[in-house]
Symmetry: C2
Subunit: 208 residues, 2 copies
Amino acid sequence: MGRREDNKAKKRADLETAALQLFLGQGYHATSIEQVAAEAGVARGTFYLYFDDKEALFRSLVGAALDPAIDALVEARAALDVAQDSLQSGAAYQELGSSLVQTVMEYPEAILLFYREQRNPGPIGEWLRTRSSQLDSFVADMVRSLGERGLIRNIDPRFAALAIVGAIDRLVYAWLSGNEFGDPAQVAQEVVRLFGEGLVDQPTTTAS
Amino acid sequence: MGRREDNKAKKRADLETAALQLFLGQGYHATSIEQVAAEAGVARGTFYLYFDDKEALFRSLVGAALDPAIDALVEARAALDVAQDSLQSGAAYQELGSSLVQTVMEYPEAILLFYREQRNPGPIGEWLRTRSSQLDSFVADMVRSLGERGLIRNIDPRFAALAIVGAIDRLVYAWLSGNEFGDPAQVAQEVVRLFGEGLVDQPTTTAS
DNA sequence: AAAAAATGACAGACCCGCCAGTTTTCCTTG
DNA sequence: CAAGGAAAACTGGCGGGTCTGTCATTTTTT
């Protein structure tokens, strides 16, 4: 029977959840392998039977949450490439949005860790920023596409993407950090409206 | 003569600039006092004649950039409290904006460090987040005030503030990290327009 | 020569990754 | 089904390394 396999998988998971809590509590850098092992209830040496080092642990941990998100991004791009009308592309955006929301809801701690460590130097930070910039590029392409179809006013896509991603980033981060503000779905709609109206081409309404 | 004093001040500055480069290059946590001292050309023991520890060094370093910004915030709040018409409050906002831009232009590295370390756990991160949330609160009040005067549509000020600050945050961060995009003044205007039109009350323009 | 500044060795504390020795699990065989 | 042995899993001490903050001593300034 796979009793051995099961135990191994379980212990791996124990180490990962222990690490997740410690990383969130004191940061990746400040957490020692000793602490992770102790928290998971094993000796230091045992850790090395499951992971090469702290970095491999982190990648496994956060990758479990990020990989699905990146996959969703890739799929959305593929769907958009073959989309013929705005109905189909709208569906692709819809699908992407719900995938991303689902990922965040499923791995809130890992995503929070992603936000926390993102700006740190070193290989971990670089790895996270690579993932991050994929989203930036996607949004930039989206803005560019909408601009070319005349649906929004002319604006530097790279600039708009940073603003949009930055706003969402901060909102999600605040929410994951424990700040409460209403129904996420309603918040999402507010974001769309906020940027939607800010991006649409229209005469400048001068409020005195 | 103040020769001694001068040298002391200069050495302090040397230590700070050395630390700034190292913090930006490898992060606060990964930088040792040994490295800072070596980079500044002094022995490790000398460091402790100028700063209590690494944390005091960081606070001094980043505080030099943040304090003026916080001061500008406090002054703007005071000016808004006594402002009677929207001309005066507009001037206060204008003044605040130019102060903040000036601070960023004067201490770009320190501000970048502020963005970098902001989400890390520990006393340093908490200290930075305290400063950060002052800006959040200010913007939230601003949105609330504009809403009460009917200049923008009804929207949760806390939510709008996070979106606005998040977008600006990301743009400034990208710019400080070396991403080029045109004239900062023009970018600022774009931000105002983006959010301005997104916040104004208006019939929902449904683009098919 | 007195005062101030600078130095670097030292003690104490962690941490990493390894690995020889121990314990647990599994499976075969009588 | 029990016994026993091989294999897998686990342990914790060790060597080697880094970092901190102090302080008696040396160097520089006045």
